[in-house]
């Protein structure tokens, strides 16, 4: 069953139910299906080329476009609105769409890009060309194509099939108990697989999907919880951490109707988990681990067992996770995943396909499994610092330095060295009014880390570069 089938099921069961709400509009399932069918019947889709670009923003119009392209038998190449010209051109050269669809505002922005032989259409222009179809096209096996944001290499195209979406969505529904009675608030970008997965889940169960534009507007998110009688909320860990700046009583009131908070992207800080537990007492705070290439590979529902607060949970039903150990003596290694949620190949990229061996995806993430098969994330393989043959995981150093009370934030990374190949540098943000000296940090490290893990360079900085999900942009460190 594909996502369009799920929408049709909802129309059969509850045609007049409000299925989609954004900050300007609300539409029923019937209205959504009508709009999707009108969109997909555009004569602009009568082209042999199978890929259509969509600059996807958080709006009902763009949900119609996304589902409409799928319903037309094409593959949606999802393009973030904030993409750079270089990345845009790289992606277009790889996916080879014959048209790109976007809002009028984005057409103006993108018209300055150096894109010959590519036509940009607005959603309205697509609909204006709708015609009566003699034959409804078959739906492509691939639903969408999304490019990973690879920080160290060129972006890789990840084709997501309907089979993968169905498998993943069923797991989400089963583990997190989504139902048609839910009202799901999503202040996440739809151009990211987390946000898009939330849309698929709501359509699959026939719940109401509430879409906000801005994940940084905390007051708007909190007010929307009450305004829409929200029962589930999907946010990144950084947003949850930011919520904690509000008073507990205020949060208690705002979250009183919530049965589930789901988060992802990075392992959630244990302090955030601890502080949030009393706010959503007797309800669920959950996270999951996954990649675009292997969505929702584990689930973690936090409970009173604080020993597991730093875990991303057990593997999802039907998904296998193993650790490819660097050394037999160590429990740590690269996480590898197999299951129907894993892509079969990258988009026209034999080099990237080497990450897939007999259906096992080499994630490049480092972690370990405890005796009960709970997965713990430690870092990225790319981030490993090889110092004279000794491999060092930056997070281990960062965690130790963060224990020093005068330290606000820290990032560890490798820099070139003539003798060791790499040595460790740490960039540190001191707390306000702190005059901590580098020697205090070194002394603390010497007491708590092996000698090859001691930083060789320490720099106090004002800022550590991070992306919108709170992940450190390691390629920008120096």
């Amino acid at each position: 069953m594909n996502i369009i089938d799920s929408l049709r099921n909802n129309v059969k069961k509850y045609p007049s139910k409000i299925g989609f709400i954004d900050e300007e509009n609300k539409v029923t399932f019937q209205e959504m299906l009508d709009c999707v069918e009108e969109f997909s019947s555009s004569e602009l889709f009568k082209n042999k080329n199978q890929t259509v670009g969509l600059i996807l923003e958080n709006s009902i119009e763009d949900i119609i476009a996304y589902l409409g392209i799928i319903n037309s038998g094409k593959i949606v190449h999802i393009i973030p609105p904030n993409i750079t010209e270089k990345n845009f051109i790289n992606q277009i050269n790889s996916s080879n769409p014959y048209i790109v669809i976007c809002s009028e505002k984005n057409r103006i922005n993108f018209s300055n890009f150096d894109i010959k032989d590519l036509t940009i259409h607005t959603n309205e222009e697509i609909i204006a060309k709708s015609i009566v179809q003699e034959k409804i096209p078959d739906i492509n096996k691939i639903a969408y194509l999304i490019y990973t944001s690879g920080t160290t290499s060129e972006p890789k195209g990840v084709p997501i099939s309907h089979e993968m979406i169905e498998f993943t969505t069923k797991n989400i529904v089963k583990v997190l108990e989504y139902s048609k009675n839910d009202i799901d608030l999503t202040p996440l970008p739809l151009y990211h697989s987390f946000g898009l997965g939330c849309l698929h889940t709501s359509i699959y169960v026939g719940s109401t999907f509430v879409l906000l534009k801005n994940s940084n507007n905390l007051e708007n998110i909190l007010n929307s919880l009450k305004k829409y009688n929200t029962t589930t909320l999907a946010v990144v860990p950084a947003t949850l951490t930011k919520f904690l700046k509000f008073e507990k009583q205020y949060l208690d009131e705002k979250f009183s109707n919530i049965r589930l908070i789901i988060t992802n992207s990075t392992s959630i800080p244990k302090e955030t988990v601890n502080d949030f537990k009393p706010i959503i007492k007797n309800r669920k705070l959950a996270t999951y681990y996954g990649l675009t290439e292997a969505s929702r590979s584990t689930f973690m529902i936090f409970n009173e067992n604080s020993k597991l607060d730093e875990s991303v949970g057990k593997s999802a039903p039907g998904v296998k996770i193993k650790i490819k150990k660097f050394d037999k003596k160590l429990k740590i290694g690269e996480i590898i995943i197999q299951g129907k949620n894993v892509i079969k190949n990258y988009w026209d990229n034999p080099t990237a396909d080497k990450n897939l061996e007999n259906g096992w995806l080499q994630t490049n993430d480092i972690g370990y499994l405890d005796n009960d098969e709970n997965l713990f994330l430690v870092g990225r393989n790319d981030d490993l610092i090889n110092i004279g043959g000794e491999k060092v995981i930056p997070s281990e150093i960062e965690e130790i330095i963060k224990q020093i009370p005068e330290i606000e934030d820290v990032v560890a990374f490798g820099i070139d060295n003539e003798i060791f190949g790499k040595i460790i540098k740490v960039n540190i943000i001191k707390k306000k009014n702190s005059n901590v000296h580098k020697t205090k940090i070194l002394s603390y490290c010497l007491k708590n880390l092996e000698k090859f893990k001691i930083p060789s360079k320490i720099e106090f900085v004002e800022k550590i570069p991070k992306n919108e999900y709170g992940k450190v942009k390691r390629s920008m460190l120096k």
Partner: protein, 81 residues
């Protein structure tokens, strides 16, 4: 006075990097080969600690040449003077 402070700081660097080193075992002329744990990583730690403590930077050649507490003291003094 200043010299004594520098000497004391250098000595403390050795006690930081070699936590099992006792006062009796420390010697200004005692060489790298006579320390049980003075390997290339310990060398790196000594250099790092000294650079941070005195806000100086050693060249690669200087770093390699330090084979005793005395060598470190002389190297630091050459930067401070």
């Amino acid at each position: 006075m200043q010299d004594e402070k520098v000497k004391n700081d250098v000595k403390n660097i050795f006690f930081e990097v070699f936590p099992k080193l006792s006062e009796n075992e420390f010697g200004w002329g005692k060489e790298q080969k006579d320390y049980e744990n003075w390997d290339s990583f310990a060398q790196l730690n000594i250099i790092t600690f000294a650079e941070s403590k005195f806000d100086i930077s050693f060249s690669l050649d200087e770093s390699i040449e330090i084979k005793s507490a005395n060598d470190l003291l002389n190297c630091i003094n050459s930067h401070l003077k």
